[in-house]
């Protein structure tokens, strides 16, 4: 007990200590968190009428961000596969940070669902045992199961490894190998289930296309690892951790394949919709050309396509992807590209045109934007604190007591 309490304070002290950049970063994030919380309290009090969501477009910015982040969380698998299955050493060293990112992304997903709910205090109604979870019929019930399971798996792996490291012990691969092996199909499953959540609705032709789940996976394998490449560069800049360039370039190479696949699947969908040209083309037409003069999403969608193609060309060329300037540019482009495509570009055309043909142009309000920013800031804060705790353990600067009185 004594050791536990002491260790807790050691960790707390370590997290609280930092240079002026660290404090300004936390202050910067806190500002957006506070603004987000205030906006959320207003939304709770007045209702979702403060958002731009209406009966015609009943999901909006929150669910868009949720969908994108499920992809980020799932992408941790891309690092786990080569690390553990093929024993590719340079990536193995950094898998831990991918798993902590997955923990963060899932936490953000849960926050986005909570802020979207009309009656968040009734969340216990969908929990197993205490509520009346509609399992296996509702895909949303499945999503609750797989997302929380994924959170638990990644939490267990990363904290087991950190625990062992912090007590100067070697972690046992026998213990975590089964968990890691489960986490690979599980990562695929969280994004597949999230895709099926939309996919299963025959009322919404844009979602009701078999290509949806494969496109979800392909796009997740673009944006998630790109985010990791950027994060790793920051980590090795601000800490003593050395991350091998070879690891980053390997990830970049994998992204090239993923974007290629994603663009191919997009082309397949584009062809089918436009060549056959049935009335179910309308949502796609709305996205890329506008419908009855309504064109809110058109510039965004073309920008996303342009970004994805440019990023693909950069990632494809070994010379360009091994130059940090072009590599980082490509990473940002593909993150933004997928954020548009798998965010608003996925959710909104499900509702436009509506099931009775109405075209309601959705564009998030300030309430939605500030709450969304708040959730992103909270995620960034969580990840910063997790790293602040994990990095010194990793480098050996932070060690915990195992037994009272024994160093």
């Amino acid at each position: 007990m004594y050791a536990l309490v002491r260790n807790f304070f050691t960790a707390l002290k370590h997290i609280a200590k930092g240079d002026k950049w660290y404090y300004s970063w936390l202050a910067f994030l806190s500002f957006f968190i506070v603004v987000g919380v205030i906006s959320y309290i207003r939304q709770l009090h007045t209702g979702l009428i403060l958002t731009a969501m209406r009966d015609q477009v009943s999901w909006g910015f929150y669910i868009s961000n949720f969908t994108f982040l499920v992809g980020v969380a799932a992408a941790a698998v891309l690092l786990v596969v080569p690390a553990y299955v093929y024993n590719f050493k340079p990536i193995k060293e950094i898998v831990l940070f991918g798993e902590l990112l997955a923990v963060t992304a899932i936490t953000m997903c849960i926050l986005f669902i909570m802020v979207d709910m009309g009656r968040p205090e009734r969340v216990w109604h969908l929990m197993p045992l205490v509520g009346t979870m509609n399992f296996p019929s509702s895909l949303l019930a499945w999503d609750v199961v797989v997302l929380n399971g994924y959170l638990a798996i990644n939490f267990l792996i990363s904290f087991y490894v950190l625990y062992k490291m912090s007590h100067s012990k070697e972690y046992s691969i026998q213990v975590i190998k089964p968990l890691i092996l489960i986490s690979i199909p599980w990562a695929i499953s969280i994004h597949t289930v999230t895709a099926f959540l939309y996919n299963g609705l025959s009322a919404r032709p844009f979602w009701n296309a078999s290509i949806l789940a494969p496109r979800f996976i392909a796009s997740a394998l673009c944006s998630g690892p790109a985010l990791m490449i950027i994060i790793f560069q920051i980590v090795r800049k601000v800490s003593k951790i050395e991350i091998d360039n070879r690891a980053l370039f390997k990830i970049a190479e994998l992204i090239a394949y993923a974007i290629g696949l994603n663009l191919f699947l997009f082309g397949a969908e584009f062809f089918k919709e436009f060549y056959s040209g049935s009335i179910h083309l309308a949502p796609m037409e709305y996205l890329y050309f506008g419908l009855h003069g309504k064109t809110t999403l058109v510039p965004w969608m073309w920008a996303a396509l342009l970004f994805n193609i440019t990023a693909f060309l950069i990632f494809l060329s070994p010379k360009a992807r091994e130059n940090f300037l072009t590599l980082n540019l490509a990473c940002v482009l593909v993150i933004v590209g997928v954020y548009i495509e798998k965010g608003m570009g996925l959710v909104i055309p499900g509702f436009v045109p509506g099931v009775l043909g109405e075209i309601y142009e959705y564009s998030p309000t300030w309430t939605e934007k500030s709450i969304t920013l708040g959730v992103w800031a909270a995620g960034a804060m969580l990840y910063t604190l997790l790293l602040k705790f994990a990095v010194p353990i990793y480098t050996g600067e932070l060690r915990f007591l195992s037994k009272p009185g024994k160093e």
């Binding site: 979702l48 509702s138 949303l140 609705l201 499900g350 043909g357």
Partner: protein, 307 residues
């Protein structure tokens, strides 16, 4: 402890769910200021799913809800829990050749079913189509038409409301089973169980579901106090609602409000299991169709042409 907290059912043994709820309550009560932790607050918060309540629990809930409504609206509500009559399966018919697009049904429904006036909620949508143009493509329809007089030359109208599907996608997707199909075929919602995720709205092919974006507002003198738990009792902010075939009327042998008000007799209603009913006559003798039949939702809402 949970037995005392739950208030009723003292003689029944503690179920696992009851125990977990009690434990949750115990934990939560430490976090809630004492002033708020009065019995009715917790009773409301921990209210069970409608279909899981026994007679005693249901009676207690109805009593509490009537008290809550009386405090809030200063109107004495009578909330019924009438069950489906055996041997009934409600069906609806709509004669497209008669409908003149006057929207009297829309507003009769609003009055009967206590829809929020601000923000405005309508359960019935009347679509206007230009004669001689695409019809199956609903994108060509107009929902916001404001003529001096109806019917307008060159147009026809198609009212749409909940189609009471036999195979309802909304029920399939609801993560909490807060919406379900009753034995008489009406798809209902427990407004005290809905979490407001709006998945049902995404799944509905007929745009029949409405969300309470804010606290519903209705003037006291416009409230209809004759209500049903699964029907027209006042709703809450953050929950979904929809046409329930006026369950408070139809289970008492009356017509839905929209059928009663229709000035041209375009709306028909009855028991599909009764071979002598008017709705059965229409289905067997008119050229009927159902909306979006390709989705296999099997609506119990039939459109037809009288001539």
């Amino acid at each position: 402890m949970p037995k005392e907290i739950k208030g009723h059912n003292l003689s029944k043994s503690i179920s696992r769910r009851g125990f977990l709820k009690g434990a949750a309550l115990g934990l939560a009560s430490t976090a809630i200021p004492l002033g708020q932790a009065d019995a009715s607050f917790w009773e409301a918060y921990l209210q069970k799913h409608f279909r899981e309540m026994n007679e005693d629990e249901l009676r207690a809930v109805i009593k509490r809800l009537e008290k809550e409504y009386a405090e809030e609206y200063d109107v004495n509500f009578n909330i019924k829990t009438t069950k489906a009559m055996p041997g009934t399966l409600f069906g609806y018919g709509l004669d497209l050749s008669r409908c003149i697009g006057c929207r009297r049904c829309v507003y009769a429904c609003v009055r009967e079913n206590n829809q929020s006036r601000d923000p405005q909620i309508h359960w019935i949508t009347v679509l206007r189509f230009k004669k001689g143009e695409k019809w199956i493509d609903l994108e060509e329809s107009e929902k916001y038409y404001y003529p001096e007089a109806v019917p307008e030359e060159g147009y026809f109208y198609m009212p749409v409301q909940c189609q009471q599907c036999e195979n309802p996608p909304c029920v399939r997707v609801c993560p909490t089973q807060a919406t379900w199909k009753e034995p008489d075929g009406i798809v209902v919602i427990d407004y005290n169980w809905c979490i407001g995720c709006r998945y049902c709205m995404a799944s509905c092919p007929y745009g029949a579901r409405r969300f309470n974006l804010a606290k519903p507002r209705i003037r006291k003198e416009e409230l209809n106090p004759e209500s049903h738990y699964l029907g027209n009792r006042p709703r809450y902010a953050g929950v979904v609602e929809k046409c329930i075939f006026c369950v408070q009327r139809t289970r008492a042998g009356r017509y839905p409000a929209c059928v009663e008000i229709c000035p041209v007799g375009a709306r028909k209603f009855g028991n599909l299991l009764d071979p002598k009913s008017e709705i059965r006559y229409c289905i067997e003798n008119k050229r009927v169709f159902r909306l979006k039949e390709d989705l296999n939702t099997y609506p119990k809402f039939y459109y037809f042409f009288a001539t």
